[in-house]
């Protein structure tokens, strides 16, 4: 068979400047033998050992990668064209791989799922790691080692002694130092080819959008509910995928929230648990190696998203139980009425997430009412407007009979539906959003408004067993 070998510019000087070599060959291997027997300089460049192509050399027959066919044994037909594509182009565009990178990523480059093109995608990609702790340190280490070109690290904390049993990127001598600074030094040592950007700040509603929009993938390794909702909302607003994980003692949860393709964190957990109820690692403890398993899963999912390979963890919540040594998977659906990613979202800008999670509250005694008192008011027939400020999808499950429903997000614009002469008792799930509602109402002239302390949870437990709705 007469076939043509197209010689790329970068190696033409090795074949006397020729751009093409024509030979008779039945396979790619035969064609290459003919080429290197005429130009011996090429042998070491193209092959390692006897018959293996070097990892940075890709070959295509009529545009198809020979690794997807028969490799060097790929059969040739008359008139076929073999193209040699070395990935090295010294001084070339940013996404080309350097010799150091070709050697370093060898075990990636020899797999068709990554290969040179995939490795270039990794190099051109960026991942923001929010929280450089138990989850963030293993994740960031693997991302850096894998050659993700730009990695952002957000963490406000300094390294503590109690971090060292699981955050293996840090050493005892680092205690007291900034996490992102130490992490940057270590990650640069792991792989100097990647750019590490540090944000030694607390991610909040004032900076989250600006930081998040600069990255392709957001890896959530935070350790508290307010920041998890913030990362979710900001990422939905700017359309970035979030690779999520959270941990508790011996258990971990992980998922990928991809705007437009699946549910978000709020579809999964519309509302945080009452403050103080679910312990953090600091309060509840954590098995040292557990976050490393979950952080590694986050690194896997981040790399898969960048490479576009495999089945991402979208619409699935992966649960790991280290004690049982068991992985389980739950299917999660997108909630069409989700307040941030649903078809008619009520959250269009970032909110106060501390408030949303019921934290940092200094409550005045005239702002709240106990459920027992409300119950006796109702028994006495006292005139009172009960106001449910939860989102529509929540009040379908449990509600106080006779309540008027205005979600907190719409309250400001619907004040005319309330009578200022009738005392308002607002409630939500746990009493944090209703407190915000009451503060707004007091500001607007509803001086007697009160928030149901503990929300419908407290009401259901203490006052009224008939609260079970629908």
């Amino acid at each position: 068979m007469k076939v043509r070998i197209s010689i790329p510019g970068t190696i033409r000087q090795r074949v006397g400047g020729k751009g093409e070599f024509v030979t008779d060959a039945g396979t790619v291997k035969e064609a290459m033998s003919a080429l290197v027997s005429q130009y011996p300089d090429l042998r070491d460049y193209l092959f390692s050992g006897e018959e293996r192509l070097r990892n940075f050399i890709n070959m295509y027959v009529n545009g198809d990668d020979i690794r997807t066919m028969g490799g060097l044994d790929t059969k040739l037909k008359d008139g076929d064209t073999i193209i040699i594509v070395p990935s090295v182009a010294g001084g070339g565009p940013e996404s080309e791989l350097t010799l150091n990178e070709i050697m370093r990523y060898d075990r990636h480059l020899i797999m068709p799922e990554v290969g040179v093109n995939g490795q270039k995608k990794l190099k051109a990609a960026s991942v923001l790691v929010v929280g450089v702790g138990g989850l963030g340190t293993p994740a960031a280490t693997y991302l850096a080692a894998a050659g993700v070109g730009r990695i952002g690290l957000v963490d406000f904390d300094r390294i503590e002694f109690s971090n060292l049993h699981r955050q293996v990127l840090y050493s005892e001598e680092d205690v007291g130092k900034s996490k992102v600074e130490v992490a940057r030094t270590r990650l640069m040592a792991v792989n100097p080819n990647v750019v590490i950007e540090t944000y030694p700040v607390r991610l909040d509603s004032s900076n989250a959008l600006d930081i998040i929009r600069n990255y392709d993938v957001i890896l959530d390794g935070t350790d508290n509910f307010p920041t998890r909702y913030l990362v979710n909302d900001a990422s939905v607003l700017v359309g970035k995928p979030v690779v999520h994980s959270s941990i508790y003692r011996f258990e971990g949860q992980a998922s990928v929230f991809m705007p437009g393709r699946g549910p978000c964190y709020r579809c999964l957990y519309p509302e945080p648990p009452p403050p103080g109820l679910v312990p953090s690692c600091a309060e509840g403890g954590v098995f040292g190696v557990l976050p490393s398993v979950m952080g590694s899963i986050q690194a896997v999912e981040s790399l898969k998203l960048i490479l576009g390979v495999g089945e991402p963890l979208i619409g699935r919540l992966l649960i790991f139980d280290a004690l049982e040594m068991q992985f389980r998977e739950l299917k999660v659906k997108k909630d069409p009425s989700c307040p941030i990613c649903g078809s008619n979202p009520s959250i269009k800008a970032l909110i106060d997430y501390e408030e949303f999670c019921g934290l940092n509250r200094n409550i005045n005694s005239d702002e709240e009412i106990e459920s027992d008192l409300l119950q006796s008011w109702l028994k006495e027939g006292k005139r009172v407007e009960i106001l449910d400020v939860r989102e529509p999808y929540e009040n379908q499950i449990w509600q106080i009979p006779g309540a008027k429903h205005i979600p907190l997000s719409q309250l400001r614009n619907r004040l005319n539906e309330l009578d200022p002469n009738v005392p308002v008792v607002a409630y939500c799930q746990v009493g944090s959003r209703s407190l915000a509602a009451v503060r707004l109402l007091k500001e607007k002239g509803f001086g007697t408004a009160k928030s149901l302390r503990g929300g419908i949870d407290a009401w259901a437990v203490k006052a009224d067993q008939s609260v079970r709705g629908h």
Binding site: D223, P273, D457
Partner: protein
């Protein structure tokens, strides 16, 4: 006539496991065998779970489901509270 119930397996995750003091239960439900009835049975057995009730996700046979789901004999229901650690 002896009413026959629907027996379901309940799995407790994370903090629900701690509050329940067990990783799983086998509970029998009578009509209606739905999620609110199951929650009632669970809370009767483990009153401490009341605090978490509204923030937990409920998965029926590996699929997150709402209050409308009817339970069948042998169904596996997982109670999954959010966790925050990182």
């Amino acid at each position: 006539m002896v009413p026959t119930g629907v027996r379901v397996k309940v799995l407790y995750w994370a903090q629900a496991r701690e509050l329940a003091g067990t990783a799983s239960d086998s509970l029998e439900l009578h009509d209606p065998a739905d999620i609110p009835a199951l929650m009632e049975a669970i809370l009767e057995k483990h009153p401490k779970l009341a605090e978490l009730r509204q923030s937990m996700k409920i998965a029926i046979n590996g699929k997150i489901g709402g209050p409308e789901v009817r339970l069948k004999e042998g169904d596996e229901v997982a109670l999954l509270p959010p966790v925050s650690g990182g």
